[in-house]
Symmetry: D2
Subunit: 348 residues, 4 copies
Amino acid sequence: MSKKIQVGVLGATGMVGQSFVKFLDGHPWFELTWVGASDRSAGKKYSEATSWRLDGSMPERIAGLTVSDCKPGNAPKLVFSAMDAAVATEIERAFAECGHFVVSNSKNHRMESDVPLLVPEINPDHLKLLAVQKKRGWKGAIATNPNCSTVALTMGLAPMKNFGIQTIIATTMQAISGAGYPGVPSMDIMANVIPFIGGEEGKMEIETQKILGTLAVDHIDPLPAKMSAHCNRVPVVDGHTVTVSAALKEKVTLKDLIHAYETYTSVPQQRNLPSAPKKPVLYLHEENRPQPRRDAGRENGMCVTVGRLRHCPVLDYKFVCLGHNTIRGAAGAAVLNAELMYSEGLLD
Amino acid sequence: MSKKIQVGVLGATGMVGQSFVKFLDGHPWFELTWVGASDRSAGKKYSEATSWRLDGSMPERIAGLTVSDCKPGNAPKLVFSAMDAAVATEIERAFAECGHFVVSNSKNHRMESDVPLLVPEINPDHLKLLAVQKKRGWKGAIATNPNCSTVALTMGLAPMKNFGIQTIIATTMQAISGAGYPGVPSMDIMANVIPFIGGEEGKMEIETQKILGTLAVDHIDPLPAKMSAHCNRVPVVDGHTVTVSAALKEKVTLKDLIHAYETYTSVPQQRNLPSAPKKPVLYLHEENRPQPRRDAGRENGMCVTVGRLRHCPVLDYKFVCLGHNTIRGAAGAAVLNAELMYSEGLLD
Amino acid sequence: MSKKIQVGVLGATGMVGQSFVKFLDGHPWFELTWVGASDRSAGKKYSEATSWRLDGSMPERIAGLTVSDCKPGNAPKLVFSAMDAAVATEIERAFAECGHFVVSNSKNHRMESDVPLLVPEINPDHLKLLAVQKKRGWKGAIATNPNCSTVALTMGLAPMKNFGIQTIIATTMQAISGAGYPGVPSMDIMANVIPFIGGEEGKMEIETQKILGTLAVDHIDPLPAKMSAHCNRVPVVDGHTVTVSAALKEKVTLKDLIHAYETYTSVPQQRNLPSAPKKPVLYLHEENRPQPRRDAGRENGMCVTVGRLRHCPVLDYKFVCLGHNTIRGAAGAAVLNAELMYSEGLLD
Amino acid sequence: MSKKIQVGVLGATGMVGQSFVKFLDGHPWFELTWVGASDRSAGKKYSEATSWRLDGSMPERIAGLTVSDCKPGNAPKLVFSAMDAAVATEIERAFAECGHFVVSNSKNHRMESDVPLLVPEINPDHLKLLAVQKKRGWKGAIATNPNCSTVALTMGLAPMKNFGIQTIIATTMQAISGAGYPGVPSMDIMANVIPFIGGEEGKMEIETQKILGTLAVDHIDPLPAKMSAHCNRVPVVDGHTVTVSAALKEKVTLKDLIHAYETYTSVPQQRNLPSAPKKPVLYLHEENRPQPRRDAGRENGMCVTVGRLRHCPVLDYKFVCLGHNTIRGAAGAAVLNAELMYSEGLLD
């Protein structure tokens, strides 16, 4: 690639937007040249419009960019959306209509029938839905990535997919960074567990079925599996941990199943996409792993770690999986989606 | 009761032993007059032999007691056991053989066929097993309470018992105090989750079936329900939180089931036992409760709080429950067992 | 006291207001019969107007009270103020003008020359300033308690007062509850230290000098001591810990100084005021105490614990002190002030 | 450098030893080829002898090394010591006697008159003491780095050195990783502060005076400044935060002093040593920085961050500083010392 592709970020000043700015810093294919935010920020320098909440400093080159308002036109063709759900629907559509490729982390379009809900290691073929969006009269398109806890779960389930997943019961222990900033008050979560995250259980249940579902010309047939989620907030900074029990259609021995986990690989690895983890599902053999503080950052936060795969007395197997919620569960997920799109020639 | 019953504590200097000392302080029926510990401590004053780890100060009257070694004889007839599993088997048996009633928090005898594993609100009739122990040639007897996480789970399931529990999947988020002192290194648990507690899942699965089982003359027929546990340690001081999905034999509406939770009461409440919580299962209607830091201490730590009862897409219902692991899950559980035994005339 | 004195709380629905409601529950002298809040809440039941943030449940009797707006008139003569600083100045003055005794936890009037900044164990004579307020044309009066960290520090210094305090350097490690609700975002404080609390250092420095100062007819001459504060937020729920180095005018041996701490008592203890701790300054001899999680709640949160008194290579002595910020540092402080006022016959 | 210098680590299996292994991984000058540990581990593979406690995985090349026992002879000339204080004295001396250069993180030899206590940015000339050690009949030598909290403090004071430091009062808030593994029990530190670290205050006071002292032929004349330390443990994973008040001999304006901080540089920077941070003292202008979770990792954990420099009402200036205790305060400090020694031609 002789010259980098210019990209923009919608909602660049918020915490998810900052994650995009950080994740894109030094990207070999994409160069962030355009940052969009609300009217209040437009016209200011990015450094003035943004209270930087992430570790380390704001990338210097981005600090000097002037914030644009979130209107299509002078933005690059490829834009990442870190927009708040309250405003994402209309703005993302406006961009897609005008010919932009909107690679969105927002929840707004995830469940629309012609919008792919992508996990590149699981359902790269769902990208074909982008073509269906032309029926809307759009020159561009919208692609989405799942909710942060859903990524950890579906990646953790991916090596089981070939054995026919029939039932899933999952309990999450989710990090505070998943709630943004200011997010969870410390008075609520310090040395505590909050056994409730608004809307999260429903999202996990329905998104999982779509991600693991089958492309059917112009829509996705959801995986016909029963799925139940219990979502909890715990005092952890980064990394959503999920305990999972699952029933499978096919018989498989524990040994063979662990082997499937250890050898799992997929399209992003085969194409050597820049943000693809070497091992998308990293199986840990220690009896007490994965652990969020120690394992969420492996492979730059882009792999999902799995451990403790064993028989379940109720369903067939149970295990623990863990994903970095702000990287693999947000900015990194969207960037990997864009890399997949580029590798398919969809961004030309 | 004109005069208090004298009681002793085996293993009184450890952290669970300290919980007994604290819980018995000011008890209306029982007076702690004897503290037993290892040879190393025997002969010392309790205050000298003990590094007090609990909040507040050591009760003054107990501080002056001389520590005995853990041999039957001069100990009171009723002794609570807070002994380490490594030594509890032989010592508890020796006491029972000599005519002591050993009300034990140790795991050693829980699963023996003639030993009751009591939760007074659930299976007070299991006490009849004490008579069976006479076949061992014992003049006394051993009664046990469950593992700390099992208490929270079984109390949380108790109002469902009449509807025929068939399947249980439970995920725990357990407090650090459950591991004693020094217990969990802070380097392991600070801002982290450890998805493993040695031996805990097996204990929860098998103990739950015995507690919810049926008395059959000289043993307990376990509840014929399938049960799977996922056990995790989280950075919480006190209070084990459990998310539960359960399948029931009988049909029951959500409304009727919540009513069963709100009105649940049992023998300890009817007999007004001193340590019995007014509401053994306290149902909280807020959408984000129970929470360990805010709710574990309700009813002096003796009730189990439950919330979020709702339909489960896989099994029938799901909910969250929470119990104070060092009170209702340990010292308080054993003392309530002894109160039940006294109210049955078994301590005469 | 045959009949309780009716009292009100201004700003009763906020977190400090809730602390007053909880602290006054079951008070032997005072009965909370009036709760005032903003227009938005006025007219609602207290239970409807309030999101209860404290442990346990809202006192049942208070839940049914109707919230009034914060205007003098039908409120009881004695009102506690938990008002936000943004509105406290005018409202507290209006109440004082109309004949109410306003016992305030707000910072607004603390440094006014005719308003006492009370710590009943230290400067009960400062109450005489109330009479000076009549020059303002007020029928009532305003009395204040210090900032939460200042209470811990000044109580910790109180036994040194007779030796002539000349210099103070203090570093605080303050609990998150000191910032109210939602207060400190968990993303800021989880496993972290924030070495800054807006305005806190100035307040500690100037309030300490006034509290330890001398009554001079119509104002307080501040203690002519140099004072420097470093204020930090740490991940602790309740309890502000302060490390202190101090220089004294008089020579005193370490032994005699520790004796002064162990025997310290004052007016609230002599008068046996209901909220007075038996030992206002509780000296702990363990080498690693006081600790907020273990010691902040001693004496119902009303004492200040002190430990590690030792020589300082720079100034004369150094030590650690700790106070419960929402009890001794807020609601409990104000109630003790009112008890002192009552015992002086000032509330008649 | 055409060929790397082979190095060893004494005490390589412990937590500090692991930090050395991690820090040396990929070092441009040094290649770790020898790992020494106790008899119990000797002969095993490093991966078998070591429970890896750090984030990420053990470097693969080191995992296969065979552990030697800690005897001089076949070890490389340059060895880093991560030995426990209980055994370090004799072993380090034995190595030095036999011609090894022992660059030690242990406290044992720090205060000996002919052993340099190095902070390369502050006292590189103290290295001349190595020659004095020949009087002991040693062919090699021992160089040491300070205690972890002392590094943060002295680096934070370094830009003030030219103005004549006369008095220092420092309060630390130290991370749990400073206590090793298992270290601090979570029951002690969760949501708590422990205002005591055994021996730490004395070490900080005396080491600071030596580090800032003056080379006098065969020993160091300590800085004639009064120094007082208050040491606390707080629930933070990595990074010791220190609040400091200091009195200076020379007059200097706040503006000029901040300029001295912003422009501070020293020998390691001038020589471009591989582990030297670009800015050894990184001054942060935000009002609430530095913070351990956000700032301890800057410059790979090798710089000390400083903020909030302002007037002190008691001494002259006060500020906050922060250093990464296991990197700049341990392994990284020792490696930088060795780099300094190499750049002086001392390792030939």
